[in-house]
């Protein structure tokens, strides 16, 4: 196994852990954290491909990771404030109770 596939496998595992958390937890904050983990896994992929892939002097992978971190930060801020707003409205962070959009 090459060093690169080690990183990629790790990233796949991180992604799955994040997904599992997002799918199984009831608390909205934890779901959000799970999504953040999935984003992190993607970042790890970018860095690994930059390190081992061709043409590393273009810095594309690093740049993408930096931008993705910024976007993730924005997402976390907005997501958490939405959770706060919802909590103020319905006094719960339990996703099962937030089903007013039910069709």
């Amino acid at each position: 196994m090459s060093p690169m596939s080690g990183y990629l496998l790790l990233s796949a595992l991180l992604f799955s852990i994040g997904l599992a958390g997002a799918l199984t937890r009831r608390n909205a904050i934890l779901v959000l954290i799970g999504i953040e983990l999935m984003l992190n896994a993607a970042n790890l992929n970018f860095i690994a491909f930059w390190r081992y892939g061709p043409n590393p002097e273009a810095l594309t992978g690093v740049m993408f990771a930096i931008f993705s971190i910024s976007v993730a930060a924005a997402e976390a801020a907005v997501g958490l404030s939405i959770i706060l707003a919802v909590y103020r409205h319905s006094k719960t962070t339990n996703l099962d109770k937030m089903n007013s959009m039910k069709g």
């Binding site: 997904l19 799918l23 779901v31 996703l95 099962d96 007013s100 039910k102 069709g103």
Partner: protein
Amino acid sequence: MNWIVQNLWLVPALPILAAGISALAKRKSRVLAASLAIGSMAISFLLSLWAFAHVLWLRNHGEASLQIFDFRWFQFGNQWLSLGWVLNPLTAVMLVMVTFVGLLIFIYSVGYMAHDENFTRFFCFLALFAGAMLGVVIANSLLLLFMCWEIVGLTSYLLIGFWYSNPKAAAAGKKAFIVTRIGDIPFFLGMVWLYGQSGTLLFYNGGAGCLEPSAINYLVAQTTTIGICAATGIALLIFCGAVGKSGQFPLHVWLPDAMEGPTPVSALIHAATMVAAGVFLVARVYPLMSAHAGIASVLTTSTALQAVTWVGSITALFGALIAVAQYDIKRILAYSTVSQLGYMMMGLGVGGVSVGMFHLITHAFFKSLLFLGAGSVIHGCSGEQDIRRMGGLGRLMPVTFATYAVGMLALCGFPLLFSGFWSKDEILHAAHTWNISQAPFYMGAFAALLTAFYMSRQVFYVFGGKSRLAEETADLSHSLASPDTTNHHGSSAPHESPAVMTIPLMILSVFALLLGFLGTPAWPWFQSFLEDTQAPLDFSAFSTGGMLPVMLSSSVIVLLGLTIGWWFYGRKPIESVDAPDNVGRLSPSIFSALGNALYFDAIYGATFVKLNTQLSKISDWLDRWVWNGAVQTVTQIVFGFAYLDNFLDTHVVNSGFDGGCQGVSRSGQILSLLQAGRIQRYLKIVAGALIVFTILLLWKAKI
């Protein structure tokens, strides 16, 4: 390239920017909004003066007075869509006129709208409106022109319906918007056609623009299936847009209704901007309008220009006829505007750009003067708009009266002194020498007679005689009916308006007097400026080309109109509010038909609107029975399948296929969970999709 040419975009951009800032401002920041709007307009005015000076400088140095600045907007396919602006005499004149009149109207609005609670919003719209109009003026691309044109339409809707709590104002705004839209659809089609044929929408582009000879020649050479050349077809379609915007004959109905807006808006729309946009459009695309098949000679007139002339002359006569029988001070002016716009179109058709544009410029000044004067009268009479309830205001509002009289004489075309005389005379002279038909000349002359008549009628009603306002003050219902009332501090006695309103009136009246001397036959500086020729001072021009008889006859016509007006209304003062109209007594039925604008609204209501209603009813029926029926059928089929499924399910289970059945019911459950409103279910579906797509990709890669 000169700095002003490169930065001409600042002229429209500044008011738009001011509008943007005041849109964000708080409702209470009145001073901010007003000073932003007026300040940006003042800067735009100075820039316009600079641009004007630059064009003059170019002329004096014998350089081409057409300066363009194009830039690429975006790319599609392998083509670039370019936009740009153009500075030529036409642009320069319009810029100065729009910014100057606009500036005066802005200042006047400070006084007029002082009591309105939505002062800030008003100035925001006003600045946006002016900015969009300036954009129309400088655009070097039909597309850019169209975009600004549509912003003008939008803001006119917002401004006419400014007092939206009054249902009449809201309806008038909608009407203005929809009726002008009817004209804009052909305009848009024309634009698309033009692009399809010539591949560019830039007016001037160093020989490659759509108004330059190569493109025009190409367009003239193309013939359509109905036998006219493409240039004519496109020109006629574009003219439809101008008809809508400038309130020409079949689409004029929105213009009088637009009087529901605040009076400064009426002045801005009817004098400086919106209606002028249509005339300006025709002037801008004049090379396209005047292009015709066959050998180019001075004596033939293109089909498009003939259409322009006929529409214009019909509108001129028609508007003047209706204006005779109106009682609302602003409606009289509105129909007069319709009539004068007809004149401008006629001037463009028979005489070319300079003739029509000269009347546009002089009209902008005296008509905004009249509107602002009418606003001052309405302001002074606490919102009263019915001329029958006014009277005797000449003594109470001397400044307004004096300036109004100047505007009125200019509109009538009182000989020699007033600007309207010179510009109108120019049009009549051009119509007289028109080679197709003499009818437009006679229609124009008759409209001039009517103009003098209805304006003197209005002035005698409003300013002459004794005040009839007092009779009605007990009856509050009349004064409350008008939305203007809410903006005044209900003082019953008519009073002179504050200085912030009268000073613009005085400035405008000076221009209404003097502007005509820029374009007299002896020294046609204005015309030569637009057409890029030299203008010598030559008094013999009066006697050549049949000029003198036309001038004399139009003077006689004006004096006759004024005399008839005096005979009917000024000889003995109008006694009471309910006294029937002196002309109306001669032929009540015709008079009432005119009073109702020849029932055009009713005709449109009975035909187009009704047709529309019927169509929508049919659509409703179709929707209800045909489409709904189809949908219901499908639903029933689906139900049938569902029953079948259900049947199979139970029976398959009963037969013992446990595993299969569970799979089916599980998938059914998952499908029903699609709409569970639970976020994690959705996430699961996404994850499932991820799995499927990854497998698909890998599989494909393997094969």
